[in-house]
């Protein structure tokens, strides 16, 4: 593949959030996640997963679009989290993204919650 990853299309932020029970990692994705930025997304998730958090929540509320390349990055991160005994959860997908997660049955593998709050409640 010869293209450069498009960093402006997708912005990301990572935070460690203190909660009543235990801290969790929260990643917010904003914009459009597709094949042109899935390498960058993979690198970001790899780095966070490598820190072995018990819970990693990805907030999708700002994500207007997600393609199968981005989905594969999420599925890959989910596998590693599973292996490490942690939990990856997705929160607040918009309708189009939620439908894509349903059609690919990815929502059977990765729990999807209506909000970050619900995701933390597990």
């Amino acid at each position: 593949m010869w293209y450069n990853s498009d960093v402006d299309l997708l912005t990301t932020s990572v935070a460690t959030v203190e909660s009543d029970s235990e801290p969790y990692t929260l990643i917010e994705l904003t914009g459009e996640a597709d094949v042109t930025n899935s390498d960058a997304l993979r690198d970001l998730l790899d780095a966070e997963v490598a820190k072995q958090p018990r819970t990693l929540i990805i907030d999708l509320s700002g994500l207007r679009f997600m393609d199968s390349s981005a989905l594969h990055v999420l599925l890959r991160a989910n596998r590693t989290m599973d292996r490490q005994g942690g939990v990856l959860a997705l929160a607040s997908p918009r309708d189009a993204v939620a439908k894509m997660l349903r059609l690919t049955a990815a929502d059977q593998l990765i729990p999807v919650y209506a909000s970050v709050g619900e995701a933390t409640a597990g």
Binding site: W2, Y3, D34, L75, K99, T104, L109
Partner: protein
């Protein structure tokens, strides 16, 4: 396993008949080696002779007037019926074209705008955006050149076509459900899930994928 499927009836559009005929042929491939009995009713009083001729090539056994016999027309080894491999009819004269390289966001914006103009409801417009984006992403994944998006619509449907230099050799590409944890193969499968009709032509010069969405009589989708 036994099932009955009638994807071909006289009032279907030429594009639907082309693709349904191809689908009938591919069923042989998909179920090769499986214990399955598949009955495909054809209305021989209403369908055109060319459609029935293709049907004779895509089925190994013909039941007619209570009699059955193996068909000499049945294509073994597998090949697609001619209607499923002929060049697609030209786009409408007023179609718009856009050549893309890595600007998939622009591709999606164009599809969304035209889908709205054509009168697709939001959810179905988003379906079409996803489908076209997945096909255009394959241009980036599998070729080193640009691709072309062509869009046109009439009162009945909006059609988005992607052409690029990629070559798809698997006749069942996008028609098998990938395992949920597969890290590939979801793109074309999603395209087939969300579009009303998908036509695919590929040879060693390139691939054309035409995605249809009905405007006038939206079908019930998930």
């Amino acid at each position: 396993m036994r099932y009955v499927g009638e994807p071909i009836w006289a009032s279907r559009s030429p594009a639907e008949l082309r693709e349904a005929t191809k689908h009938e042929a591919l069923i042989n491939l998909a179920f090769a080696g499986a214990e399955a009995e598949i009955l495909c009713p054809y209305d021989s009083t209403a369908l055109a002779p060319a459609v029935l001729a293709d049907a004779r090539r895509t089925h190994s056994l013909l039941l007619s007037g209570g009699h059955s016999g193996t068909r000499p027309d049945y294509a073994v080894p597998f090949r697609l019926p001619s209607s499923g491999s002929l060049p697609l009819p030209a786009p409408r004269d007023d179609a718009m074209s856009y050549t893309y390289r890595t600007d998939l966001s622009q591709v999606r914006a164009l599809v969304l705008k035209h889908a709205m103009d054509a009168g697709l409801p939001d959810a179905r417009a988003n379906d079409l955006v996803l489908a076209v984006s997945e096909v255009a992403a394959n241009t980036l994944r599998h070729t080193r050149s640009s691709g072309t998006l062509t869009i046109w619509h009439d009162p009945d449907e909006i059609i988005c076509e992607i052409h690029d230099e990629g070559v798809i050799t698997d006749p069942l590409a996008g028609r098998r459900e990938p395992p949920p944890d597969a890290l590939g193969g979801h793109g074309l499968w999603l395209v087939h899930q969300v579009c009303d009709l998908v036509e695919l032509r590929s040879d060693n010069t390139g691939t054309t994928i035409r995605m249809h969405m009905s405007v006038s009589s939206p079908r019930q989708r998930n």
